[in-house]
């Protein structure tokens, strides 16, 4: 398949500029449709989030994109190849359920993960020691995984995911199980990867992570993706909210306010009219409203999620965030 890809957000992107392109992915397990017609376009070098509650189909989607399982229907192209396993050497993957061989030493584990991706074992082990040193774990390089704390072992696996310098990194719920300090470190690492041109795609049920990190998101609920595209486009699905404070309590300027405007305390709250801010301002000034303050706030990703996926999905998302993983 060549040409351009159009994501659910209506953004057209040249296929050659896409790290991942998926159309109509469907996966059923025992009669249950886990993923139902997912379309995703991930531009190269971007940070892309798959946002949805537990059980929405995030992991199944990622597994199909990685070639761990094959879709029942649909088409996928990863780094220009229709069979993701053909480009496995250029991909790094950190699954949600993390694990390493407990008897391996930290540098051996990284070397092994590198060898799986085509790096000679000796070189992988050398890089493993370097990475551990660079991330403050040099002292534990010869320690067995079973002798490490959970956090240290997770860091080792993360380094093993990146040791072969992949073009595409896939994280499944990367922040789950991490404390705030390590979440911050991981966020910085993801930004650094993207800055170096690596494409990063991750799944999450925490809106804040997606909002802070992602260039684009796919909102997934019930196996369907009602929106996929830039975060700004998602937020722009909702009209900005206006908060207005005036000296005059009444006048002809009131006619410029939309019908849903409500007065709370000293402020008027309403959705910015589709005509934009300039006609509103003109009407307020010409009508002698006496503007004391006026702020226009864009909708957050949470509001956008509610608007796109619905209240039920938003509630499930909040519950997912509260569940221990």
């Amino acid at each position: 398949m060549t040409g351009n890809g159009i994501d659910a957000g209506g953004v057209e992107v040249a296929s050659t500029e896409l790290a991942i392109e998926a159309r109509g992915l469907v996966k059923r397990f025992d009669g249950f449709t886990a993923v139902d017609g997912v379309d995703i376009s991930v531009p190269k070098g971007s940070i892309y989030g798959i946002l949805g509650p537990n059980g929405a189909g995030k992991t199944t989607t990622l597994r199909m994109l990685l070639g761990i399982i094959d879709p029942d229907q649909g088409y996928r192209r990863v780094l220009g190849h229709e069979r993701p396993t053909d480009v496995a050497r250029r991909i790094g993957y950190l699954p949600e359920e993390r694990g390493l061989y407990p008897a391996m030493k930290a540098y051996e584990a990284i070397g092994f993960l590198a060898a799986l991706r085509g790096v000679p074992l000796k070189e992988g082990r050398r890089k493993g020691r370097e990475l551990l040193e660079a991330h403050g774990l040099g002292y534990a390089a010869d320690r067995q995984i079973r002798q490490m704390s959970k956090g240290m072992a997770q860091t080792v696996q993360l380094l093993g995911t990146l040791v072969h310098e992949p073009d595409l990194v896939v994280f499944d719920e990367p922040f789950s199980g991490l404390d705030a300090l390590n979440q911050g470190k991981l966020e910085r690492m993801i930004r650094d990867l993207a800055a170096r041109g690596t494409t990063v795609i991750f799944s999450t049920h925490v809106i804040a992570h997606a909002e802070r990190l992602c260039d684009q998101v796919a909102i997934i609920a019930g196996g369907k993706v009602p929106f996929a595209g830039p975060v700004d486009v998602a937020r722009d699905r909702l009209r900005p909210q206006v908060r207005l404070e005036t000296r005059a309590q009444d006048g002809v300027w009131r006619a410029a306010l939309p019908a849903d405007a409500r007065h709370e305390g000293a402020f008027w709250h309403f959705t910015l009219p589709e005509t934009g801010v300039e006609p509103l301002l003109r009407a307020l000034i010409e009508g002698n409203a006496g503007i004391l303050s006026l702020s226009i706030e864009r909708a957050g990703l949470h509001d956008a999620f509610v608007a796109i996926a619905g209240e039920a999905a938003a509630k499930a998302l909040e519950e997912s965030a509260g569940e221990p993983k």
Binding site: A34, I69, T85, A88, Y93, L100, P102, F112, L113, A115
Partner: protein
Amino acid sequence: MSGFAEKLRAAMVIARRDFVAVVFSKTFIFFLIGPVFPVLVGGLAGSIGGKVQQNVERPTIGLAMSADDSRAMLGARTELQGRVPGMIPEIVVLREIAPGETFDARAALADGDRPVSAVLGGTLEKPLLTAPGERARQWVGVVSNLAARARSATPTDYPAVAVEEVTTSVAKVKTGQIYTAQAAQVMLFLLTMLLAGMVLSNLVEEKGNKIIEVLAAAIPMDAMFMGKLFAMLAVSLVGIAVWGGVGGAIVLAGARNLPTMSVPAVGWPLFLTLAFLYFAMAYLLMGSLFLSIGGMATTVREVQTLSMPVSMFQLMVFFFASFALTSPGTWIDWASIIFPVSSPYAMLARAAQYPDVWPHVVALGWQVLWVIVIVRAGAQLFRRTVMKSGPSTAKRSIWSRLRRAKAY
């Protein structure tokens, strides 16, 4: 890098990891002393094999006498057989000798088309038994008795049997080669039973460690299966080398004189080479089946439950191949050669008995093909039934997985 080369490389990464993990573990020492138990099993299997051997050997005397004498000898044999069943050798007429005609008994003993253990010539009054020394001494009395009864229903005069000893006979060689074939089958069975079962639990570790998903994303699943099989085969060969070394040292030290085995039909060097190859094939065939079945198991308990039926399956394959040894040239023999998991056993026995080499090339190719087929099918089944997301899948039993796999 081509697809095959990439798979081979990935398989070697897995094989190296598994090999090191097993051989450098503390428990490997228990693995090395493990054969004490199968040696006991081997003793039991040997007694069963002895029974099989009785059916295989069928000692036969070939007659080269006049038509009347031959008829009389066959009649006497039938009569004596009725009185002492199982004690009288088979008798077949090689040729009815006309007066003045000579017969080359040594040539008849060397004739592989109609293998006999001894040739009885001369007359009823002066029988001449041509046979290897041990066999001749064993049958002198029987032949005298038979000749006496052939002459008279109530014998009083038992003729002296002249003996012409030969060094060996085709029948003796054949019998010895059957011993060799049987011994090789037993050894092959013991080693595969002892070693192939280990593969059952091989994927449980990866599932328990949750590293399976990383492996599945990084390398083709069939490469992972192959790597695991290679690793366990290499571990097994280490064990065999150690056991063989210790056994050889004991023999060299003269602790015990082992019975000498007949030279296999293909000769010892090629036979040992084929034994190595057929062990590898038997291991890979059984191992790929067990790995595929074990891959469906989610817990160690499920693997333990599977161990018994798996051992029974191995026993059945062994008995099938052993039984086929007693029926050369029949459909059972061919079935044991064609059926992939019994093929290595049947072909190793064949190497002991027949000198042709090309059937082994074909058989090894056939077995390799089946290893690939089973590994690919097992890997596909694993991907379809195990690599799903969601906790409910992880807890699903092997039976449920296999049942549901039909839906795909």
